[in-house]
Amino acid sequence: MNERISVKRAVYEENDRRAAVLHQGFAAKDVFVVNILGGPGAGKTSSLKQIIARLKGRPVSVIEGDIASDIDTQALRALGIDAYQIETGGDCHLNAPMMEAIVARMDIKPGSWLFIENIGNLVCPAEFVIGEDIKLLVSSTAEGADKPYKYPAAFQRAAAVILTKKDIAPYVHFDEAYFRAGVRALNPSAPVFLVDALSGDGFDEVASWLSGLRT
């Protein structure tokens, strides 16, 4: 017998379910989880260092997603940051099963911050929840002002946008108004923080915004 059945099930269903369990586990320990998205070289790791330097009082741990290297993890550990590595071996985003595996071998302190640097791309990391409280999107002036228009899903789901490479914006003819208009349309409530992740300019605002989320 042949028949057409109605299914109406999201492809991400299983991932969403497992991510929800992860999130419950984090919430039970009062761990606030930030999933950092952005293209390769956008300034995710540099921004993370600036943010962590400004978050006082609570322990911090970091999960670094990378396709095949642990350079960023080593660099963070050298700064005394409790960093762990997920090598996806080719997968272009982190997912809930990968998170389950790494969380099982981490010692995440109650009340802490957990930052996760996702794989550098703006397509599927936007679609896979991994137990986070918020997504933070890092985009750089060097990538151009059209990023919100090209990758709407990532911008729609971000709680805030960190716009890095403020220092070189004039040299790359960055059209800030066009960028902000795109973010506004996709995500009216998300603040945009224009920063320089090398000097740290602008990160006091990022850190106080983040801290304000959990008081």
Partner: protein, 117 residues
């Protein structure tokens, strides 16, 4: 490359659904793909052919219905289809807001064969 792992998830979900319905074979999958996902149909089909090999999904056609992102103007309430590189309302020029239409990624229907082998 982004399509590889989502197609793996798609195949897994379709197999789970097919088994729960006692399907012997699946001949077609109706998939709804919102265009804000950025997924390419050609790639989804390519990976689907690969990942479905040797399963009851092998040979099934993947029928993709694309959904264009819809934007709503907060000023004049016009709902309009998104054009490349702008979110502005074509009627009044106000920057529009996303409606959520265009974010879909789900299996809508499956054509299955059941009964005696």
């Amino acid at each position: 490359m982004h399509e590889a792992s989502v197609t793996e998830a798609l195949v897994k979900l379709a197999l789970e659904e097919a088994l729960s319905r006692d399907a012997l074979r699946v001949t077609a999958i109706g998939l709804v793909v919102g265009e804000t996902t950025g997924y390419m149909g050609e790639s989804l089909e390519f990976y689907f052919r690969n990942f479905s090999k040797g399963t009851i999904l092998e040979g099934a056609s993947l029928n993709i219905a694309y959904v264009k992102p819809k934007i709503k103007c907060p000023n004049c309430s016009l709902v309009f289809e998104r054009k490349k590189f702008t979110f502005e309302c074509p009627a009044c020029g106000t920057p529009g807001e996303m409606t959520g239409i265009g974010n879909e990624f789900y299996i809508d229907t499956m054509d299955i064969e059941t009964g005696e082998r």
